[in-house]
Symmetry: C2
Subunit: 162 residues, 2 copies
C-alpha cells in the first residue's frame, strides 16, 4: 500500500505519502503546495490536479485518503473544496486507486486515541511520531498526516520510519 493523504485547500494544501510494508510504515514524501491567490481559480485547480498526478505517477500511489467534507460557514469555500475533491476523484478513477474518507473524529481517534481531541493535540502527536517534520504554521501538513495515518494504521500499530 502506498497511501497519499491530502488536506486540500484552494490556497494551501498539505500532503503525505506513506508506504506500508508488513507492519512498517515509511514516509516517502510530504509537503505543502501553495496555490497563490493572484492565479485564477481555474489555474489553481489545474495546478493542484497536475501536482498530484505527478506524485501518483512518481510514487505509484495505490490509495488516497481525504477527510469527510462538511458545510461550514462559507458555502463558497465548500464549493471550492468540491473543485479540488473533483480533481482527486478524476485521478482516483484514472489510476484505479482506492479512495478512503475519514471523519475528523476518526482522524483524531487514530492519531491521539481520543475522538474529541483538538487540532493542537493532533499536531503535537504527529510531531512526536515524526520528529523530523518542521513545525507547520498552519495545520495543513499535520492534518494530511492525520488522514493518511488513518489509512495505513488500520491493522496493527506500525513502526514509523522517516
Amino acid at each position: 500500500m502506498i497511501a497519499l493523504g491530502i488536506d486540500p485547500g484552494t490556497r494551501v494544501s498539505g500532503f503525505v505519502i506513506f508506504k506500508k510494508e508488513h507492519r512498517q510504515v515509511h514516509v516517502l514524501d510530504f509537503g505543502i503546495i501553495n496555490l497563490p491567490a493572484h492565479r485564477e481559480l481555474t489555474d489553481r485547480v489545474g495546478d493542484f490536479f497536475t501536482f498530484f498526478k505527478g506524485k501518483i505517477e512518481q510514487f505509484g500511489v495505490t490509495d488516497i485518503a481525504l477527510e469527510t467534507p462538511f458545510l461550514g460557514k462559507s458555502a463558497l469555500n465548500y464549493l471550492k473544496l468540491g473543485y479540488l475533491r473533483g480533481a482527486v476523484y478524476i485521478l482516483t478513477s484514472h489510476y484505479k486507486l482506492s479512495l478512503h474518507e475519514y471523519s475528523p473524529r476518526q482522524v483524531k481517534q487514530a492519531v491521539t486515541g481520543y475522538g474529541g481531541a483538538d487540532k493542537e493535540q493532533v499536531a503535537r502527536m504527529i510531531l512526536k511520531l515524526f520528529p523530523g517534520l518542521a513545525m507547520p504554521k498552519k495545520f495543513d501538513l499535520t492534518d494530511a498526516f492525520g488522514v493518511g495515518m488513518c489509512c495505513v494504521w488500520a491493522s496493527a500499530q506500525p513502526i514509523f520510519h522517516k
Copy 2:
C-alpha cells in the same frame, strides 16, 4: 469562438457546442451524457472529465459557459456539483480556455428577453430557435443551450443554423 455550454449533473449532463462566425451561430454538436448511478461517483466524475476533454479537442473549443451555482436544499448535491465544476476548471486551465458564468436570471433574459421566465418558457424558446432538437424529458439540454447562448449572443443577434 467555439463555445461549449454545459449543464452539469452527476446523473445527467446536457451540453451544446456553438460556433460563432461573424454574426452567425452554428450548432456543431449537442447532447446528453448519462452517468449511471451504479458507477462509483469517482468514475462518474472521471467519465465526465474524459468526455469533455474529448469534445474540447475534437471541436477546438475556445470558451466554456456554466450557470452560476447556488446552494439549494442539498449541501451534498452542491458539493457533487463542485466535483464536476472542478473537472471543467482543470480543462479550462489545461486548454487555456475562457470560462464564463451566467446567473439563471441572465440566461432567462438572454433566451426569452425576461429574467423572471420559468424553465418551461426557456425550453419552449430554445425549441423554437432550434426546431431540430428532440424535446428533452428534463431540462438538462435546454439549460445547456441557454447558458451557451449567453456566451455567443453577446453582440448582435445571431442567426442560428443547425
